[in-house]
Structures are given as structure tokens and as C-alpha cells.
Symmetry: C2
Subunit: 317 residues, 2 copies
Amino acid sequence: MSGEFERIARLRDLFGPLPPPDLGIGDDCAVLHDPRPLVITVDSAVEGVHFDRRWLSPADIAARAVEAAVSDLAAMGAAPGELLLAWSLPRESPDDLVTALAHGVLRVTRRLGMRVAGGNLTASPVLSLTTTALGRAVGPSLRRDGARVGDLLAVTGHPGAAAVGLRALLSPRGDEPTFTDFVNRWRAPAARIAEGLALVGRAHAAIDLSDGLAQDASHLAAASGCALVLDADRLPWLPGQREAARALGFDPVELALHGGEDYELLASGPAGAFDAGWTIIGEVRAGDGVQLRRGGVTAPVEPGGWDHFTNGRGTRG
Amino acid sequence: MSGEFERIARLRDLFGPLPPPDLGIGDDCAVLHDPRPLVITVDSAVEGVHFDRRWLSPADIAARAVEAAVSDLAAMGAAPGELLLAWSLPRESPDDLVTALAHGVLRVTRRLGMRVAGGNLTASPVLSLTTTALGRAVGPSLRRDGARVGDLLAVTGHPGAAAVGLRALLSPRGDEPTFTDFVNRWRAPAARIAEGLALVGRAHAAIDLSDGLAQDASHLAAASGCALVLDADRLPWLPGQREAARALGFDPVELALHGGEDYELLASGPAGAFDAGWTIIGEVRAGDGVQLRRGGVTAPVEPGGWDHFTNGRGTRG
């Protein structure tokens, strides 16, 4: 296995330089001249906690790690900018692991027009990818604390679809064609950058769905000091999603609420904030916490999303 | 052990909010409004690779991890700004580990006037601290590629002093008073922010000494396309440093060249660039690589710094 400096040189070739006067890989720091307000987040993906190499190629692992970080930029309504990649690799890793991971990152940077500005390589007992994602504010950022009583709640995509895919992989039936679309949604999420940008100046608050709709909604409710009421009858399902969940022994609504790893967005705002890509699933009321309206009954939902310090699976802070 | 969200809340209390309009811990991203060019780096410290809990308290581990990242800001001549802390903690970690780590970070942020703007907590089989450090350019950044033939080379502090401390800890003699000062230099490095800032507009190039003077000088030589000649007779020693190295069975010059983890600065520039805190140790010539002048003989020095992919100990990319 080649040394750290050869690997860094290879990554510099793959990711390319930054346009002057910016300075990217190859010095002690990157230097970036964008004068707009900086929107920045960091996220880690750890083998055995957030991913399993049985189910994901190295390119998938890296792309997924980056999409998860970039999803936080989407939730703030930021324009995507640069990435810093801090990768910890087991000593026995083959040389082509770094290249394969890099190709996964390139999938995302090409999709979103992002640039790799720097990073760090280190040895570690466990494969771990920490991504710092930088964006720029194009208007007022979509914070968690802006939801107002009377707002509508809307989501992108199909909450719970990724959870169906993960449950299929955890079952003996992961290879069945019925589950292919769901497995792919878990395997290759796509941060909702365009949808987040479209909310700027229109919606009042947003958060991305990493830990499950119930858990993430509870953060929005707590930060905004109000109650979020979700309507089970309005949850947007992919074709076959409910049937696939039931075939695996799960209530599809439970997976939508508690499944996590969708990397969709949940936003709060007036009706006019939401384009065709959004589904209205509830509203904001006075009170606190998250409530579910299902079959005419409205009852509190415990967050119960995945918290890996207590539950043991991957999630994000 | 408490959950991720309680821990994040505790960290938010300890580190405090950012002054408006900036937005720190508690949303999907931090938002920062400083309009100056951004200088940014990321660095990881992994248990068993970069540190060992037998020799460092949790506060020391965290302070050291942050100083190592901030040292890259010093090397570019940047003013220190914000930190993002991505911490991976073993599941069985006691609750007070996060608090103890945070107090180590506070040591650094108070010393340098930095602010914690965000981070991420995750479970992991191994304790690992990844620090994203943000600074701002106050003038032209000190790059690695600016050294010119005829420049003088200068260092801060006492290269090799930290290596004496580490070798003492690795020996049965780590507790002897002779080694206390050296152990402390290894244990609690201090990024040379003021010294880096003082070089802006005066020196031509700089790098921090993380991997050893020879290795780091070789990066500067390669980036600048010239040869760096170091003079063994001009290396600045702490009182007792040479004797301590020899008592442990090492050549003090070898430790200065290859020891690493000093987090001092090496800079290239005209004589007028260097204040009293700097020691001139050589000059820049036409050619390539690093050479050592010792006892009247000038000979190439192999980088031979620590590269943890091939040598197995901690270093940085």
C-alpha cells in the first residue's frame, strides 16, 4: 500500500485544482474567496455504524457520506460549494480503495458542481469518512426555529422508502426485484439541493430527514416552540412502498416516521412556498412536540428516531 | 451513557452561541458572515494512531487535536476563526468523556479567541477526533510554493523537543524530571498563530512542522522548486535537549529532523521577515530536495518523516 503523500497526490489529480485565486489540495489549508455568507457542516460515516461493505461499494459509501453532509446544506437553502474529506483507512486497505472512494465523491461533485478543496488521510482501525461541506447563503438561511402557527408542513420525496430498502437488506429478501427501487433509495440518496434553494425567501423553516420524520420533526418543533401535526393519510408513497413494507413485516407509516436515512427535506411555510415537488403532509399548531393524525385520531408521536448512542445504528447529530 | 441529542445540548451550553447574525451549534449547518477570504483545514486524531490514553488526559487529547489543526492555519498566516468538531466515541464511553474533551477544546478557543460553530457526534469502535479549523486571510496567504533562491530559512521554537518527550514516554524513563519539559511539549503543543500572522507580507513561504523538519522541508522544497539547506550547527536547542536525546539513545539532530509533532513553523524569506522568536537555520538554493550541512559536509537528507501508512505512527497529510 502506497504512502500518504502518494495518495494525496493521486487525489489531487482526480479532484483537480481550484480556479485561482482559490487554493485547494496541496497546501496546509485551502483558501476560498467567495464573499457570500458561509454555510458549513460536518458529518461522519463509520463502518459498522453507518454502513456495511456487504451492501455498498466503496464508491457508494463515499457518495452516500458526501450526500448526507450536503443534505444539511440543502436543509438550510444553501448553494453547494466545496468539500473537505477527512478519511480514516485501515492499514491493510488496498491501494485502489482511495481511488474507488474518490470516484464516489466525483459522482456528487459533478452532480452538484461542487469542488474538493482539501482533506486529510490517516490510518485507523476502522474505515471512517468525515465530510466537511461548505455552501453559500443566497438569501436568509432556512433555520429550524422559524416555523409559525398556521404554517403548512411539506416533504420532498417519499419518507420511509430508504427504510424499506434497508429492512429488505437486513432480511433474506434483499435481492428480490420487489425491493430493488427501495434498496437503491437507501444505497444512493441524493441531497435535495435544488428543492432547498427553491424555498429560500418563501418557506419559514426546514430540516433534512436523516434520523426519521418523527425525530427530525421534533427538532423543528422544539426549536420553533410549536407543535407539528402530521397527517398519515397524506404521506406520499412510492408505487408499491406500502406493500413492500408490509411484506417485510413493517407498518409503512411506522417506517416513514422512524426509518431515517431518507435525506429528504421537511419544511414549514405558507402554501405558496411549495412547488410541485413537495407534498403537504400536515400543519403547525400552538403547543409542542409532534402529533400524528391517523384514522380520525390525533395522538403524540414519540420521536423514537434512531440515536446511535442508545440504539446502535447510524444517525447524525 | 446519554443520547446524542443530550450530549449536543451540553456541548452547546459549554461552547456558547455565536454572536448574531452568525449561527452556530443547533441547526443543520453553521452560518458565518466574515467577508474575508476563508482559510480552512481538517485534521484527524485517532486513538492508537495519533494518541494513547495512557499518556494524555481527555482534555489533553482534544486540545492537542485542535492545536494540530489550527497549526495549519498558523502556517498559512491566517487569523483563527471557528472550529467544527466531528467526534467519534466508543459506545461504552462514560458521559463525562464528552465534557472532558470539550474542556480541552475550550483551552484552545480561549487562548486564541476561536469559536466552536458546529460538529457531529457519532458512535465508533475507536475514539477519533476530526477538527475542521476555519481562519481568515489578513493578507497574502503563506503558501508552500513561494520559497525563492537566496531566501533564509527560519523556525520557531525547538524542533525535536516534542520527539524527545515522546521517546521518553516510550521508554521506561518517562516520569523522570529530566524529561518533564519535553514530555509537556509533546503533550501540549501550541499552534504558532501569532508567529504566522507576523510573517504575512514579509516571508515568502511557510509550513508547519507536524511530520518532522526533514519531511516538511521536503514539501516546501518540492512545491517551490528549489533546494533547502539546513545547518545542523544552527538548530535551536532547549536547555538540556541534546543531553536528554542522547540519554535516551538518540542523536538530537536526527530527532530534530525526523521527530515530528513539534507544531512549530518553518518559513522562507528575507532576513527582515524574522523577528526575535525565530531562528535562522539555513537557506534556499537552486536545486531540489533537502540538504543538511553538518561538520563541514553538506549531504542530502531523505525525508524519512513519519508517514503512518508506511511507518505506523501518527502524522498528518
